[in-house]
Symmetry: C2
């Protein structure tokens, strides 16, 4: 058994009961993260079931703990109700461990609406952040692109998009080590005359920001490179992700069908097999683990309900990296630099109404 | 030279100067359509240049005419200005031929904003239609899916989406011969609680329509089948098309790079070549020609600026089919059936304001 080179000190709480294949893949992914990266993991959930899963693995000396909980939030439950009522659910308790400083980050592949609700309700928003957003890292021709918001906020105001831009930019800089990330605003054309009211107002605000803003980008730019952070509302972000998923799946299936039509093709496929698996790996979402929910007071990774153990392992790794690089503190700094932009579009407070804007 | 089996009687006007590779591909595509399908084509544009292109082909006995024009709308011109000022442009004149009943349909691969402007300005909207929309047919696992609006209307009201749904449904029924097309509204999840204000209101209206409405669909459903017409606003529609284009291009490029890395892979590729070309053909947009602009008083096909001659040929074929199947008349019938839905959200007229809704 390979011992990790260094033992990390930041603990990650994993919602062991969350996801379509829980606790099987969540426990396996946590074991892999503890073994390969030396990351301490607190497995939150039904102790008996977690112990049974652990029996499948060599876990001696691995930094793993169990925090027992008696309830589970189901995938189709109403988010806020589930979080409020199921006080001893693995999902809620995992977030509470972060709030109570018993863990440094949390990973959940469970009901994503409930995870967002738990983040808002238990951890609360970072000071100055109006709406936390999901930041999904997408594989592109030249590395990786951050798509933010990937689904948390279907309806947005222009200055929300500015905040998303800042959060995505800090993420690419601190986690993906990209210097001065190029930030683009997703639109239906590159010319300034394109777009809708939302993007046109956000475009004006972004031009005045301290970011490396390159203007409007189009759907094809996401995968072709030339931009590091693609900003959009959560409605569009969700549709982009799901559409891309659909294209990948269908292309894989059609290619397979075509190839299996003749012996010659099949032989050819066997010879190029290595290429196909490299190709698949390059565009495998699970390599990227999960997507961080940025803008809350704590490190939160939301993984796909259908996550594999590799995805969970990578989600734990990313969670640990985010803590290590102190991404939350960087957010706060950048937010302060662009503070004036956040005021735009907000309703004036009662004091401002009475005493004017100088309050 | 193969003679067409039957000579069609409906004439199609082709904007011969429109598109990145005009008049080369527009003339070639028109020649192919006339030869293979017997469709009479009026080539609109600079007579000398068109004649020079025609010299490259065997055109004796083919039903081709030329309508000379002296101006060209460039790809980056402001649409409405170009249409108003360049009265003798190939684009405008091609639309006028339809208005004056000298042609039955028009195909343009030129400035698409200008083509939409020409359609509205020269042909005008169908009675009852608030906003014409681009209907793009997308290849899916089980045939073809209509995506409407694919870009004409970035900002929409709920009842526009209902009109798009009707137009897309009639199109799939009359042109693609699909019985009772399943209509889905694009959203960020299938549950009714998902969506944004626009989709929630449109969802309520669509439930009351005479269409085969199946509710919300997600991005992945576009390519996976299970739905025949996917309705969205033109901002989202444009982003979906461009994102898909990006995924296709990037996957093709990455696969090629991977394969060329080793001799074995290359040999393998040669053996499976037939599969790849079948595969490519299945997802080749040019097989579908162009996208009709539905809801105007005339048959209009808008092709991609980078169209090949095959795409132009298929655009002419689709234009001719739309006329033959009298799609415009079918629209009007369905519009009347769902007339009450169109009133919702419209401003009341001055008469309604004064005399109540009974006017």
């Amino acid at each position: 058994l390979k011992e990790p080179d260094t033992q990390k000190t930041y603990k990650v709480a994993v919602d062991a009961m969350g996801g379509d294949h829980a606790p099987h893949v969540t426990v396996e992914g946590s074991v892999l993260a503890a073994r390969e990266f030396g990351i301490p993991v607190i497995l939150v959930g039904d102790e008996d079931r977690i112990r049974r899963e652990l029996l499948r693995h060599e876990v001696e000396n691995l930094p793993l703990e169990i925090k027992h909980t008696s309830e589970v939030v189901e995938m189709d439950e109403t988010p806020t109700t589930a979080i409020k009522k199921k006080r001893d659910s693995s999902l809620r308790v995992a977030f509470e461990l972060v709030r109570d400083r018993k863990a440094h980050a949390v990973v959940s592949a469970g009901n994503s609406g409930a995870a967002i609700a738990a983040a808002l309700f238990v951890l609360r928003r970072l000071k100055g952040v109006e709406r936390p957003a999901i930041n999904t890292v997408i594989p592109s021709l030249n590395g990786a692109v951050s798509l933010i918001d990937a689904g948390a906020n279907p309806t947005c105001k222009p200055y929300y998009l500015v905040q998303f831009a800042i959060m995505g930019s800090v993420y690419m800089q601190e986690v993906m080590r990209i210097d001065k990330p190029r930030v683009g605003l997703l639109s239906n054309g590159e010319e300034e005359s394109k777009g809708i009211d939302l993007t046109r107002e956000a475009n004006e605000l972004l031009k005045r920001s301290s970011l490396n803003y390159i203007g409007y980008v189009e759907g094809r730019d996401i995968y072709k490179g030339g931009v590091d952070v693609v900003v959009c509302d959560g409605f569009v972000g969700n549709i982009i992700l799901k559409t891309s998923e659909g294209v990948f799946e269908v292309l894989g299936q059609v290619l397979k069908e075509e190839i299996s039509k003749s012996y010659l093709s099949k032989l050819g496929y066997l010879l190029s097999k290595k290429s196909f698996s490299n190709f698949k790996k390059k565009f495998d979402y699970s390599e990227y683990g999960g997507a961080p929910l940025l803008g809350v007071d704590g490190t939160v990774i939301i993984s796909h309900g259908r996550s594999s153990s590799t995805a969970i392992k990578n989600a734990v790794r990313i969670a640990s990296e985010l803590v290590e690089r102190d991404v939350t503190r960087h957010f706060l700094e950048h937010m302060e630099k662009n503070e004036d932009l956040f005021r735009v579009g907000k309703k004036p407070s009662i004091f401002q109404k009475i005493f004017g804007t100088g309050s």
